[in-house]
């Protein structure tokens, strides 16, 4: 009986240790997609950023997830070549003076709908603001997936060109499929 109890305790301890081990995933443009959709009365334009670098660490429980990424704003692309140039200009992202956008999580909480609420600091156009967005997260021993779609108001980051002609809300999409 004592041996059984000892075995159970040892197995439990081992499981606890295994769960507490953090796993780090390297993030890049290959396993992480950051996209945006801008809209105006006449239609919409899709785009995103091709290059980014960073890391995500998690110990199996998504609420322990920590993400830090640097996004190369010059890797911006869109569905129109002239628009891409315009988005890179001082009218929007001003990539020559703001070559890097950043995001770092500060908190991940379980949400009521079964997903998670991610809070973090987004630095864009030289300004840092807190954002909170819903996300579906699955964290395993050797894989991490995250999917989210949310909106930001571009004026909060000083991207104010075209007020009244271009919608202020921009839809951001984030998709991570990282493997160890």
């Amino acid at each position: 009986m004592v041996r059984v109890l000892m075995t159970v305790v040892l197995v439990g301890l081992a499981a606890g240790l295994a769960r507490a081990a953090e796993v780090k995933f390297a993030l890049s443009g290959d396993n992480t997609k950051v996209t945006f959709v801008g809209t105006k009365p006449e239609g919409k334009h899709d785009g995103g950023f091709k290059k980014l670098s960073g890391s995500a660490t998690v110990d199996g429980d998504p609420t322990t997830l920590k993400i830090a990424v640097d996004i190369d704003t010059d890797s911006l692309y869109s569905d129109d070549a002239k628009l891409t140039g315009h988005l890179k200009s001082p009218d929007f992202f001003g990539v020559k003076n703001n070559p890097t956008a950043k995001f770092a999580t500060t908190k991940v909480e379980k949400a009521n709908d079964g997903g998670y609420a991610v809070t973090g600091n987004l630095t864009l156009n030289g300004k840092t603001k807190e954002v909170k967005f819903p996300a579906k997260i699955e964290a395993g021993a050797d894989s991490l997936t995250l999917a989210s779609t949310f909106k930001i108001n571009r004026n909060d980051w000083g991207i104010s060109y075209g007020k009244g002609k271009i919608d202020d809300d921009v839809t951001i999409g984030v998709a991570i499929k990282a493997k160890k």
């Binding site: 002239k82 628009l83 891409t84 140039g85 315009h86 890179k88 200009s89 001082p90 009218d91 001003g94 020559k96 003076n97 030289g126 300004k127 000083g158 104010s160 060109y161 075209g162 002609k165």
Partner: protein, 326 residues
Amino acid sequence: MPLPPWNEVRDALLLVLTPAAGASLALMLLIRVWAGPRWAPLAAALAFAAAVAAGNYFPEAFSWRLDSERPLTAGDLRTVLGWSLEGKPPAKETENPEPTPEPEPPPLPSPRYWLPWLAALALLIEGLSLLPATPAAAGWVARTLASVLAGRLLTPADMRLEMPWAPWALAVAVLAGWALVSTLQRRWEDGTIGTALGLCFALAAGVVLHAHSARLTDLALICGAALLGPALVCWKWPGNTSPALAAAVLVLPGLMLNAQYETFSEVPYTSFLLAGLAPLGLAPLTVPVLARQQGWRRWLPGLGLPLALAAAALVLARQAESLPFE
């Protein structure tokens, strides 16, 4: 060249050109006509400054604040001036794992941040240089120092690293333009140079429009409209408007340098260069036989030479790139 959509033209007229041109004309008329020719330099300086402020109110093309949510402090200005002159210092590594909390530093501004401040400096220096008590040599020393400062501040940091001569080249361009307009306007006192520079800014706006930046296009239009008052009023009531002209010849090359650096288009480098250096087209007019000309013999080259350079710039831009709405 096709015009932009009507709503874009309407917005530019209502929100940018009318406030700037209106403020420029109103102040120039009020002060020059009421106070007399002695006050023309002050009238021109105030007209230019008021026009830029009025024209910038809606589009905020000039980023004169470090951060719209952060009050402008003298300490912040000193900090960013140090960064802009020397380059922002790298983050310090410390052995202390718990760094002492420091006030959040202001954001690093783009070189364009310094345009309105340097324009104000040019207004001041040129205005003071015109005072009878100011020795001529002191005026030229001040103009030279301001030009060197402008060259340094308006050249982007990584351009300074790749081309260490770039700030000096910009400084020479600014000083040469400044010397030209100051010398010629003192002699002529009519609206030739103001009109020429105003039209140069309008054509430069066309170049930048082809480079796909509405913000920088607005910036060029604001400066062009700001010269309307000094230019038009002096055709009827002559006066020395060189403070406004000095601010203009400082802004134009700095604006075009940064427009070339910050925009992404097929507009060739030469286009930005010609537009930025268009005021130097006035150089032949310093030859005494040309400088003494009157009437159309002065107006034709005075307007035509700078505009020829600016027009060439626009033609090159047009050939290389189409407009966003085409």
